[in-house]
Point group: C2
Chain length 444, copies 2
């Protein structure tokens, strides 16, 4: 018989939240004064501020600045309980969550498991590509990039050398665009100083986008300008192209052309992080969970879903809301208030998404922003957008201390282009051995 | 036939340095203007500022602040070449270093491989203990401590729980003393906030020292005061005790008493990091390499050794100099100057160790320092020593940026006791499974 996880019983209704991303974190905070027991389950002991992950991957800031231990965030919230565990199954009949540390009882369950990288079933891609969904992925990428250059120093075969120095980024959303821009700045200002023996003229950065424009979902102006910025910075952008296969060395595109790289970064799609035990009819395409306007999972009384995993299908949003930080934060906050209303017999308020705009930064003084302020749309590209981007990201970081450290790093980088986090510590991607001789015919 | 590593041939005499610790780094810097080719080989791409490693292990500062990429340190030094490689063997007849990336030719070879943890041949200890010699060890310890508490929450058996909450540190030198002090402060100010469900009254910190005093090598005052500080802070200090064995759970002392812990930190001794290929007669006890007063390895013309690995045996120092940062730094600097003298036919200067004193910090406002300033000995314990300790460590950090970040962390911790680096990222120690039932009779 399965055992129960040990959690102090406070006698209050138990709100169990699975996942401490933006949505789960906001919900837990929003329940601060509620007369409940909040139990947050996550497989990491920290929250990740995902929008700055690409800066960790490109050695601009420390990983520690964008991840924050849950126990510290909530050390003053008495109704909060954290458990480091993996969820295996939920049993909605018994109101139980089955986890790696035992069974956890709930009165209200909130699924906030977010999204995971979508390889669209391509196993070979999953094996060989580097993802960008966790801070460990970002550290992996940083270590891989730096090791590539160390290894490239030892080669004289041109193709082999290019395989280590060239990068292919798949996906022209914010992550892909920001990574491509950051790599391009490193190629110009940092790598040549670190590796004077290598010729960075021959380092190519490819960005592959399946659609006809970058930053789909943003304004036409933002798409056009981000493409222009990247091309000015020497990034090779391939629009209307898909990757057919990648074996860890050769990237084959849908038109048959090939690229050679040992480092393909997959930022091309996400899918809901599935959870076992819900009725199949509540799971929509893309592994998202269908919820009503109160974020209640369709078909359940006391099970909710918020953030990327939740698809609130309405006539306005037939696909649900975009899988972004903003809807997650707003749903988390509202659900906290709605649960309090529910306990006191008041009617819950339906969720209305307030899109405050989006932005992406491509390089120093170069960003694109579509803002919605006071019911006005402000579109900006360039220096002003870049200032706003920095301001918004700084104030969004979880702690004041992190803000200081990141600000310090950014200030430093602005004037010196040289933050000094180019360290190979921990895991890196192990691809096919570098000594192996591979000959290919078609190379772009 | 073995291949050569690819390194640009500048036509200058090649000074190959193995190891980028304090000694190797200083030597390379000291050769900045010399008409030579400096080739530094290290198995990491960064220099580690070891004196602050215990602060990484106790989540006070980020790992990135105390490690620094060699390529960045030397990005303005044109005669400097770095290679990330492991050295397998040196062939002094052919003047070749055999490495994981191929053969490297030298005209002058400098061994600066430092020291490694000495388990005195105890394989079981090596398997089960956590060392404190690298930043990866420190991260491992941080992750292990935090995971221990997460796991302890799930136990009700008292002995099992204690095995996760108690710590045994072996070795009463600076590392052991500083770690014990830092853990004790976390126990008082931080852990109870993070884990309100655990009772930290029952968390024991044991420090085991084989001799009759702590901080051997420092003044009597420092030894006595550090013991007093630690005991006031609730650390259980065991003097004149040795560890006989440790199986990952039970620590058996030389008098037959036992302690239970899953986390034993081994800071009890170091031994020279051996290098293969030197004449056996040049290797002394403790794996150190015997050098003359010019740091030249006895029996060789063009092979030198500096830092912890070098034993300069004189009548004053029958055991060689202490294995500390100061002799390493001073030998590195002097050898750089001496090599220049050698090339220009001038006589080399003999090494004279200038002991500037030593210090250790036990807690907030609590440090011990024996300083030698202007030929006067200044002994201080408490607040003033602690200020000096901070000042010296801050100015010794490699880069200005690191100094800022560390200062920020320290300032933050001073007022809040709460730096927020308590993150479980990357590797942690995997000991015997926690579910396993073990019963022991004698527990102190």
């Amino acid at each position: 018989m399965a055992k129960y996880a040990r959690i102090k019983n406070t006698g209050k209704p138990k709100v169990v939240i699975i996942g401490g991303g933006f949505a789960g974190l906001e919900l837990a905070k929003s329940l601060k004064k509620a007369d409940v027991q909040v139990i947050l389950i996550d497989k990491q002991n920290y929250h990740t501020f995902q929008p700055l992950m690409y800066q960790v991957a490109t050695a601009a800031i420390e990983a520690d600045s964008i991840i924050h231990p849950f126990r510290k965030v909530f050390d003053k919230q008495e109704n909060f309980f954290f458990r480091l565990a993996e969820v295996q199954h939920i049993d909605t009949a018994q109101k139980l969550v089955e986890t790696s540390i035992g069974l956890i009882r709930y009165d209200y369950l909130v699924i906030a498991t977010g999204a995971t990288t979508n390889y669209f079933g391509d196993k070979l891609m999953e094996e060989n590509a580097i993802a960008m969904k966790s801070v460990e992925d970002a550290i992996n990428l940083r270590n891989t990039i730096l090791s590539n250059f160390e290894n490239a120093l030892q080669l004289d075969d041109e193709e082999q050398m290019n395989s280590l120095m060239d990068y292919v980024i798949v996906g022209g959303g914010p992550t892909g665009v920001e990574l491509a821009g950051a790599l391009s700045e490193l190629r110009k200002h940092v790598f040549p100083k670190d590796y004077p023996e290598l010729d960075f003229q021959s380092m190519d950065i490819h960005l592959i986008q399946s659609g006809g424009e970058l930053l789909k979902g943003m304004s036409k102006e933002a798409s056009v300008k981000s493409l222009q910025f990247l091309e000015e910075m020497g990034v090779k952008v391939w629009l209307n192209r898909r990757v057919k296969s990648y074996d860890g060395y050769t990237v084959t595109l849908d038109n048959g052309e090939t690229l050679i790289t040992r480092t393909l970064i997959w930022a091309a799609g996400v899918t809901g992080n599935p959870i076992d035990g819900l009725k199949p009819e509540s799971i929509l395409k893309g592994n998202r969970v269908q919820v009503d306007v109160y974020n209640r999972v369709v078909g359940y009384e006391n099970v909710f879903a918020i953030g990327d995993i939740a698809a609130m299908v309405t006539t306005e949003n037939p696909q649900g809301h975009p899988m972004l930080a903003q809807p997650a934060l707003q749903q988390g906050t509202l659900l906290g208030k709605n649960l309090v209303r529910l306990f006191s017999g008041e009617p819950m308020q339906p969720f209305v998404y307030k899109d405050q705009g989006s932005m992406a930064t491509i390089g120093k003084n170069k960003a694109v922003a579509d803002l919605k302020l006071f019911n006005r749309e402000i579109k900006s590209q360039g220096f002003f957008a870049w200032l706003i981007w920095m301001f918004i990201h700084l104030i969004s970081l979880v702690s004041f201390r992190d803000r200081l450290v990141v600000m310090l790093n950014w200030g430093w980088n602005y004037f010196t282009y040289n933050s000094g986090n180019r360290l190979i510590v921990g895991h890196k991607q192990e691809n096919i051995p570098i000594t192996e001789t591979i000959t290919h015919k078609t190379v772009i």
